[in-house]
Chain length 73, copies 2
């Protein structure tokens, strides 16, 4: 499948939660694209951590460590 | 609304796209939480950029600049 896995509606909700009044459709699509890319990057790191721990299943702790690494904190 | 705006199903799809075979439900929820937080952070920056440009509508360009800033690239 090509294109973001994320739908546009939740992007609008995220923007509302951030305090936005109005958000263009293109902005919502852009946010979906960006979050999709970050998500894949985090998931790839998480898979590495899971494999390193001898697991085939990605667990929440793998996502947590991977997210901190990808986001640089 | 509390909790992530993102559903768990797209998180599983993102993990599959990254190459994961198996992903726990907790891992998918964790990824939703992480992406929701990053999304709100990006959206808040984007609102600042839109306001600075004298607009009330957040546009794709605002999301793009905000994402680069938040992700530090």
């Amino acid at each position: 499948m090509v294109g973001p896995e994320l739908a546009v509606a939740p992007m609008h909700r995220i923007c509302k939660k951030a305090g936005a009044d109005r958000v263009s459709e293109a902005a919502a699509r852009e946010l979906a694209k960006v979050l999709d890319e970050i998500g894949v990057k985090i998931a790839k790191e998480a898979i590495d951590y899971a494999m390193h721990a001898g697991r085939k299943t990605v667990k929440a702790e793998d996502i947590g460590i991977a997210a901190r690494k990808v986001l640089g904190k």
